[in-house]
C-alpha cells in the first residue's frame, strides 16, 4: 500500500476513534458503566497511536523523496539535508496542523496512561474534553488541510491523472536554519500542552470534582507547557535575530504576539493558583484563566495559520479561519455553560486582608499580566476590529506595544522581587525593612553609580535598579535558608543552598526562574543602546563601529549541496589588534531561486557585534556591510536557559519531607527570633 494512502487512512481512523472517545466518554459519564469508561479511554489511546502513524507516514514521504505528494513537492527537494527534511514537516499549513495533532497526542496519551487507575471520578470528563479538542484538529487534518494530497494534472483527454515531479520546490530558505528545527516543536508543545490543564479545569468544573485536586494534578503539566512556550518564544526571537538580518529580535509581528498571549495568561495562572491552594481564593478567576489560556493557544494557532491579520508570516487569507472562529465559539459556549451551571462550586473561602500581603502581590501580578495580554491582543487584532467598526483597516505598530508593555514589564519585575517575600494575609513594616532594606539600597546605589557615569535612559535605569534589587532579594533568601541548614549540618554554604533547593524545589526552582527573567530583562534593557552603521566596502577598506574596526579582506563563493554561498571575509580589529574573523554571507538556493542571508554574530555578555552582508550598492555595485552593535543581547538567551533550568528544578519532587528546622534548632526556652520568620523557616512543600 502506498504510504500516502496509509497515512490518510490513519487520519480518518484517528477521527473515528476520537469521535468514539468523545461520545463513548459522555455515555460513560451518564451511565457509569465500567466497560464504557475503559473502551472510551482505549479509543483515546488508539487515536493518538493513529496520529503518530500518520505523522510518521508524512515524514516517510519526505525521506523517500516522494514528489507525487503535493506537500512534499512544495516543501522539500532531493538535495535538502536530512535535518531539514524533518523540519519540512511543519514548514507549511497542512504539516503544521498535523504536527499540532501529533504533539497533542503525546500529551493526551501520557495523561490517559498515567492516570488510568487514578481519579476515576474525574478522568472520563477529562478524556471527553481532550477528545473534543482532538476531533477539531483531526477534522482540519482530514477535510480542510490534508497533507496527503497527491499531485494531479489534466491529461490530453481532460481527465485528471496523478503526476509526479522529478524534484520538489525546496524548503523556504528562511526556514533552513537550525533554530527552525527546534523552535516550532517547542512553541507548538507549549500551545498544545495547555490543553491538559484546560481539560482538567473544565472536567473538574463539570464533574464538581471536590477540592483543589485538579490544580495539584495539572501543576506539572502547566509548568511543562509553560516551559515549552517560554523556550519557543525565545527560540523564535533568536531565529528572527540570527536570520532576518534586521538587527532585532522582536518586531511585534502578529505571529510573535500570538505566541506571547498564552504565555502571559499562563504565567498569571501559575501564580494565581497558589492563592487557591493556600487560601482557597480566586477559584473563579483561576478557572477562567485556564480557559483563556487555552483560547489564546487556539487563537495563536489561528492567527499563525489563517493570515487574518496581515502579517509577514502570512499574507494570504485562508478558509481555515472560519473553522477556528467556530471552534473558539464552541469553547466559549461550553466554558460559559459549565461555569453558569456549577458556579456555586467555585465560591471563595477567604477574603483579602491587606494590601501589603502575598495575596495582593499576586493580584497585582495577575492584573499586570492581564492588562499586558489585553494590550497585545487588541493591538494585534486592531486591523480586524477597526475594519468591522469603521470600515478602515488600521494597524498599530511597535510604539503602541512598547509604550504599554515596557512600564508593565518593569512593574512586574518589581513584583518579582517583592511578592515572594511578603507574608500571606498581612506583612509587618518590620519584616518589610528586614527583607527589602538591603536589596533596595543595593539597587539604588547601583542606579546612582550608573547615573553618575552618564547613564540617562529612564527605562533602562529603572530596569537596572530593579534587576539588582530582585537578584539581591533572591540571593538573600538563598543565603538565609542555606545558613540555617549549614548551622545544623555543617556543610558548606553552597552545598547547603543546593540542599535547601532540593527540599523545596517548587519555591527555590521558582526563584531560579525569577533570576532567569531578570537576565532576560537585563538583555531587553540593553536595546536602548543599540547602534548601527552601513557602508559600501571595497577590498581592503575599513569601517568603524564602537570599539571594533571591520576590514574587508576578500570574497569567496562556496558551492554547497543545496545552495551557493557568497561570502565576505571580514577581519575584526580591536585597538588595532586582530581579534577575529567574521563571515557574513548571502545564499542563493537553486531550486526555488530564492536568497537567504546568514548574519555573522560575535556575541559576548557585554555586546553583540552583528554583521550583515546587506547586498550590493545600486550605484557602484560595491558590497554593503550593515553592522550593528547590540549591548547585552546574550543575556536574553542566557536568561532563557536559566528559566528552563529553574522550571526543571521546580518539576522535581521535594527530596525529603520538609522539616521546620528553626523550631528544632532552638530549645523551647529560647524563643525563635522574630527576624528569622517567615522566610528562614523551611515550610511545607507548596509555596
Amino acid at each position: 500500500m502506498a504510504v500516502d494512502v496509509f497515512g490518510s487512512f490513519a487520519l480518518v481512523l484517528a477521527l473515528v476513534c476520537a469521535a468514539y472517545a468523545f461520545a463513548g466518554g459522555i455515555a460513560a459519564i451518564l451511565t457509569r458503566h465500567p466497560l464504557l469508561i475503559k473502551s472510551s479511554r482505549q479509543a483515546g489511546i488508539a487515536t493518538c497511536g493513529l496520529v503518530f502513524l500518520a505523522t510518521f507516514s508524512l515524514e516517510y514521504l519526505f525521506f523517500s523523496d516522494n514528489f507525487a505528494n503535493a506537500y512534499v513537492v512544495a516543501h522539500s527537494n532531493r538535495d535538502l539535508s536530512t535535518f531539514y527534511k524533518v523540519a519540512a514537516l511543519w514548514s507549511g499549513q497542512e504539516g503544521s496542523l498535523l504536527f499540532w495533532s501529533f504533539l497533542l497526542s503525546i500529551y493526551v496519551v501520557s495523561v490517559l496512561i498515567a492516570y488510568r487507575n487514578k481519579n476515576g471520578e474525574l478522568m472520563p470528563y477529562v478524556g471527553v474534553v481532550m477528545a473534543g479538542v482532538q476531533i477539531f484538529f483531526l477534522m482540519l487534518n482530514n477535510f480542510v488541510a490534508s497533507p496527503f494530497k497527491a499531485l494531479a494534472a489534466p491529461g490530453a483527454d481532460g481527465v485528471l491523472n496523478y503526476v509526479a515531479r522529478g524534484d520538489g520546490s525546496g524548503l523556504n530558505p528562511l526556514l533552513q536554519y537550525p533554530e527552525m528545527v527546534i523552535h516550532p516543536p517547542n512553541l507548538y508543545s507549549g500551545y498544545t500542552g495547555f490543553t491538559i490543564p484546560f481539560a482538567f479545569a473544565l472536567g473538574a468544573l463539570l464533574a464538581r470534582y471536590p477540592g483543589e485536586k485538579w490544580i495539584h494534578l495539572t501543576r506539572k503539566w502547566t509548568m511543562i507547557a509553560w516551559m515549552f512556550q517560554s523556550l519557543g518564544i525565545l527560540l523564535g526571537a533568536h531565529w528572527a535575530y540570527a536570520v532576518l538580518g534586521w538587527g532585532g529580535y522582536w518586531g511585534w509581528d502578529p505571529v510573535e504576539n500570538a505566541s506571547l498571549l498564552p504565555w502571559l495568561t499562563g504565567t498569571a495562572f501559575l501564580h494565581s493558583v497558589m492563592m487557591q491552594e493556600k487560601r482557597g481564593m480566586m477559584k473563579v478567576w483561576n478557572v477562567w484563566l485556564v480557559f483563556c489560556t487555552f483560547l489564546m493557544c487556539i487563537l495563536g494557532t489561528f492567527l499563525t495559520r489563517s493570515g487574518v491579520v496581515s502579517s509577514v508570516h502570512a499574507f494570504a487569507q485562508s478558509s481555515i479561519g472560519t473553522w477556528f472562529v467556530g471552534f473558539m465559539g464552541i469553547i466559549l459556549l461550553v466554558c460559559f455553560g459549565a461555569y453558569l451551571k456549577n458556579r456555586d462550586y467555585l465560591a471563595s473561602e477567604n477574603q483579602l486582608d491587606s494590601i501589603v500581603s502575598r495575596e495582593s502581590s499576586f493580584l497585582f501580578n495577575n492584573l499586570i499580566l492581564l492588562v499586558s495580554c489585553i494590550a497585545v491582543l487588541s493591538g494585534t487584532l486592531f486591523p480586524v476590529f477597526s475594519e468591522w467598526f469603521t470600515g478602515n483597516r488600521i494597524s498599530v505598530g511597535a510604539p503602541f506595544f512598547n509604550k504599554v508593555n515596557i512600564p508593565l514589564g518593569l512593574l512586574l519585575l518589581f513584583l518579582t522581587g517583592v511578592g515572594p517575600l511578603l507574608a500571606w494575609r498581612k506583612t509587618s513594616t518590620e519584616s518589610l525593612k528586614r527583607n527589602f532594606g538591603w536589596p533596595l539600597g543595593a539597587g539604588m546605589a547601583a542606579g546612582a553609580v550608573a547615573f553618575a557615569l552618564g547613564f540617562r535612559e529612564f527605562y533602562s535605569l529603572v530596569s537596572l535598579i530593579l534587576c539588582i534589587f530582585v537578584v539581591a532579594t533572591i540571593g538573600l533568601e538563598f543565603y538565609r535558608g542555606a545558613k540555617v541548614i549549614r548551622a545544623r549540618s555543617g556543610a558548606s554554604l553552597a552545598a547547603s543552598a543546593i540542599d535547601l533547593t532540593m527540599r523545596n524545589t517548587r519555591r527555590y526552582g521558582g526563584y531560579i526562574v525569577h533570576v532567569g527573567m531578570v537576565f532576560v530583562f537585563i538583555g531587553l534593557a540593553g536595546s536602548a543602546f543599540n547602534r548601527d552603521t552601513q557602508k559600501e566596502m571595497q577590498l581592503g577598506s575599513t569601517m568603524q563601529i564602537g570599539p571594533y574596526t571591520l576590514l574587508l579582506q576578500s570574497f569567496d563563493t562556496k558551492p554547497e549541496k543545496n545552495y551557493t554561498a557568497q561570502r565576505m571575509i571580514v577581519e575584526v580589529l580591536q585597538d588595532n589588534k586582530p581579534k577575529m574573523m567574521l563571515y557574513p554571507e548571502k545564499r542563493r538556493f537553486a531550486t526555488n531561486e530564492q536568497n537567504g542571508t546568514m548574519v555573522a554574530i560575535h556575541s559576548t555578555l557585554k555586546e553583540d557585534l552583528y554583521v550583515v552582508y546587506a547586498g550590493d550598492s545600486p550605484d557602484t555595485q560595491l558590497p554593503v556591510i550593515h553592522a550593528y552593535l547590540n549591548p547585552l543581547v546574550k543575556w536574553i538567551w542566557f536568561g532563557g536557559v536559566v528559566v528552563v533550568f529553574g522550571t526543571l528544578i521546580a518539576l522535581l519532587p521535594n527530596q525529603r519531607a520538609v522539616l521546620v528546622l528553626a523550631g528544632a534548632r532552638h530549645p523551647a526556652t529560647q524563643p525563635l527570633p522574630q527576624a528569622l520568620s517567615p522566610s528562614v523557616t523551611l515550610r511545607e512543600g507548596h509555596d
Binding site: 512544495a74 528572527a240 495559520r305 496581515s310 492588562v371 486591523p383 475594519e387 508593565l408 526555488n592 536568497n595
Partner: protein
C-alpha cells in the same frame, strides 16, 4: 481607608495610565491599510495618513537608484509607482512578481514613498499549471 478602596485606586491607576499610554502609542503608530485602487480615490487629510499598501511587484520595474529603490506595484489592474527610501536593506524575497507590502505615505507627485517593504515570493509550485492546489504558498515566512 478601606482596603477595597486602596485596591480600587491601585487597579485604576494602572489601568488608566496604561490606557493613556496605549492611546499615545496608537496615535504615533496607526497605519491605514489600502488597496492600490482605494489609494487613488483618497483625498484631503486621508492622504496624509501613514498607510500600508499591498500588491505584486511588476516584472522588470525594480530600479535601484542612489539612495532609493523605485518599483511599480500592481493590483486589481491598477498600478502604483513606489520609491523605497528606508535605511534597511530590502528583503531577499523582494524580486519581480513577489507579493509586497509597502508602508509609508503618498508623495506629492503621485509616487508612494515607502519606509518599509515586506515581501514574499510567489511560490514556484503554485504558479505552475496543473498543481492540485494542495499546498498553499503561505505560512511561516517573515521578513522585516
Amino acid at each position: 481607608m478601606k482596603k477595597q478602596a486602596k485596591f480600587g485606586i491601585g487597579v485604576s491607576v494602572i489601568v488608566v495610565s496604561m490606557a493613556f499610554l496605549a492611546w499615545l502609542g496608537y496615535g504615533e503608530s496607526k497605519t491605514y491599510y489600502h488597496t492600490i485602487a482605494e489609494l487613488q480615490t483618497l483625498s484631503g487629510s486621508a492622504l496624509t495618513h501613514r498607510m500600508r499598501v499591498g500588491g505584486t511587484v511588476e516584472p522588470g520595474s525594480i530600479r535601484r537608484l542612489s539612495g532609493r529603490v523605485d518599483f511599480v506595484l500592481e493590483g486589481e489592474g491598477k498600478k502604483l509607482p513606489v520609491s523605497y527610501m528606508g535605511s534597511d536593506p530590502l528583503p531577499d524575497t523582494f524580486v519581480d512578481k513577489s507579493q509586497a507590502l509597502v508602508e509609508g505615505r503618498p508623495g506629492s507627485d503621485g509616487r508612494f514613498v515607502a519606509e518599509h517593504v515586506q515581501a514574499k515570493c510567489a511560490s514556484k509550485y503554485e504558479a505552475a499549471p496543473g498543481g492540485s492546489g494542495g499546498a498553499a504558498a503561505d505560512s511561516s515566512q517573515r521578513s522585516m
